[in-house]
Symmetry: C2
Subunit: 257 residues, 2 copies
């Protein structure tokens, strides 16, 4: 063994997950050597594991290039939390889109990041960088701030410990500013975001709490700056989020325990 990165990965599963996790949005396909480089595993190990993953249809291979496989697609469609949330939220999201004409996001909080579960694009509003299954730091998005404002304090501590990386031109990178913003959001029930997740972004979000008051997710309306009337949109998002939450039983499909 060489000096080895503090490769504390002991189990096979962890190595396999490392390999699968090495695939990013922009990677159409990866090769064995590239995977070995990204994961820090030996090339022979990657070769063996990928062979097995291909057999299980977790990966597909075409010549030398590997891509994520059908089995993952199928399992992904069965993942309970997103599936359930989607099913229950879709009508409210459609209403929101009808009412605003803009793009609607449904996201949940995972650690210090938000994960987008469903997106309904507004009719004349093409290219937002958000993607179903995509992640963004919570503190840089309206949905993220909406959820942070209704989370346990440790969650916020963790976010702050992460260093508040800058994502857009006006991302909040200061702890005090973030705490202040979250306090306002906790009072209002609505979070805003302007040029924080990307240039020209504008967004209003509201948290979705289940019948027991536990945080489950967040809904948002997004647009380019100037294309949105805040005073008309905020109550709409808020009421949609409240209505959705009222339909979620206590202890329902909570994302983070």
């Amino acid at each position: 063994m060489r000096t080895a990165e503090w490769n504390s990965s002991s189990s096979v599963l962890e190595r396999a997950a490392l390999i699968l996790g090495a695939f990013q949005v922009q990677d159409r396909t990866l090769g064995v050597s590239e995977l070995a480089r990204r994961t820090g595993l030996a090339k022979s190990t990657v070769s063996r594991l990928t062979t097995e993953l291909v057999r299980l249809q977790y990966l597909e291979r075409h010549g030398q290039s590997l891509r994520l496989g059908l089995a993952l697609f199928e399992l992904g469609q069965l993942a309970a939390t997103p599936k359930e949330l989607r099913r229950r939220a879709i009508a409210f999201m459609a209403d929101l889109r009808n009412a605003t004409g803009q793009t609607i996001h449904l996201a949940l909080l995972d650690g210090t990041e938000v994960v987008y579960i469903e997106i309904l694009r507004g009719k004349g509003t093409p290219p937002l960088p958000s993607r179903v299954g995509g992640r963004l730091p919570a503190h840089a998005t309206a949905v993220g701030k909406a959820m942070l404002a209704f989370s346990a304090p440790e969650v916020l501590d963790q976010v702050i410990a992460g260093g508040l990386p800058r994502v857009g031109p006006d991302t909040i990178t200061d702890e005090a500013a973030l705490r202040k913003a979250l306090a306002e959001i906790a009072a209002d029930g609505v979070a805003y975001e302007r040029n924080e997740s990307a240039p020209d972004s504008f967004c209003a979000a509201s948290p979705v709490l289940d019948a027991g008051g536990a945080l489950v997710a967040a809904l948002s309306v997004s647009a380019k700056v100037g294309h949105l009337d805040v005073h008309r949109v905020a109550p709409a998002v808020r009421t949609a989020a409240l209505a959705l939450g009222r339909q979620l039983p206590r202890n329902s499909v909570l994302a983070e325990g």
Copy 2:
């Protein structure tokens, strides 16, 4: 995915895949003992593996109940073949829906089964049993027959070897009848299905071949019997499938190698 082969499972990955694969549509959650029963693994093994899978976010746990986790959802969204196919097909599918008002399916062939990649539901047509990520025996569906008719003979042999299980009232369960039907489909470029995948189902499908003539997927229009004018729909599906195929480069996103 029926990997219920008895004891050929040696690797950890295979055991883990067995566990993940044990989750079905109707299972909201499963427990350790139930998983052990379904997979044939020792309870202690399942307990250890699930603990690890939870750590990797491939599973979530709430109390004693386990469900498929967020990581799978995310990976599923990145799976290259479905993602690419969806992206390129979505406009043609929307056109088809506009033209027919009915539900449009996009599926690909995996072994002896079809897997639904995308579904656009018609406006007044609610409850079809199909599901994105869902599977059905190829010989019992229009999309399946459309693809079988343009596949290598070994694929058909495999399907026949599987015994042509009955799925709907009029599923083709006879080898000769299936071969005859496929020959017609190969000539026409369109496959039909009536009461074969479910009672009252009616469906017209056409294969999607890439620029090199290789089979990639299939498109279909589905409805309840009587709600569809065959002579108007068949050319529409056919042309949509041809148009989509023409946009797919040779050796593009083939599902099965």
